[in-house]
Symmetry: C2
């Protein structure tokens, strides 16, 4: 068993909006993702999703208002709730969600990517 160093893992990729899997705990995966700009509106039918900001500032848009997360802050987005993430600066996020959760949820478009292990 080896320690997983999040800062070191973040040096291994430069892609924006592509989640990289760093750990699996029970049926939940931890993924690192770098964000910049705006994503697409979507929801996850059967998966709650947790966002934890490691660096930068994350805007999570909901149909009835926005939540802003700074470093060291988390938010749980319950299954079924439509949301859209955005970042005005390069922002690094740790995601926690059931394995096989697709990044664009119920939407399939050019932003849809498979998460990869790093």
């Amino acid at each position: 068993m080896n320690a997983i160093n999040l800062a070191q893992k973040l040096t291994l990729f430069e892609d924006f909006w592509k989640p990289f899997i760093v750990a699996e705990v029970n049926d939940v995966q931890l993924k690192l993702v770098k964000l910049y700009g705006e994503f697409v509106w979507h929801h996850h039918e059967n998966a709650d999703e947790l966002f934890m900001v490691i660096k930068g500032r994350l805007q999570i848009k909901f149909r009835d208002g926005d939540v802003w997360l700074n470093e060291g802050e988390c938010l749980v987005i319950p299954r079924g709730v439509e949301h859209c993430t955005a970042a005005e600066e390069e922002t690094h996020v740790l995601l926690m969600e059931p394995k096989n959760t697709l990044n664009t949820g119920n939407v399939q478009n050019e932003r849809t990517v498979e998460a990869e292990w790093i």
Copy 2:
């Protein structure tokens, strides 16, 4: 939906070795715990457990060797694997494990405590 600020949550308790629940994502809970000294050897029959160090340095003892975790480092302890945590200085940890996971796993003794929401 409100942001969960881990640093602010850590100001809400002083207890050592008592996990406080800050979030639930699917069937997994995120718990904050402050550690100092040494815990008890135990395992969790059906639960993988993730430790993430927020502050300090965590020693996780296994029967065949130790792993040390510094700030920003994580380790997944697979179900069934016996372990014992220890910290030579005050150490703050974010735990990720299925809800209803008992802190002392298969052991019930004076160190066994119920996690509480904060």
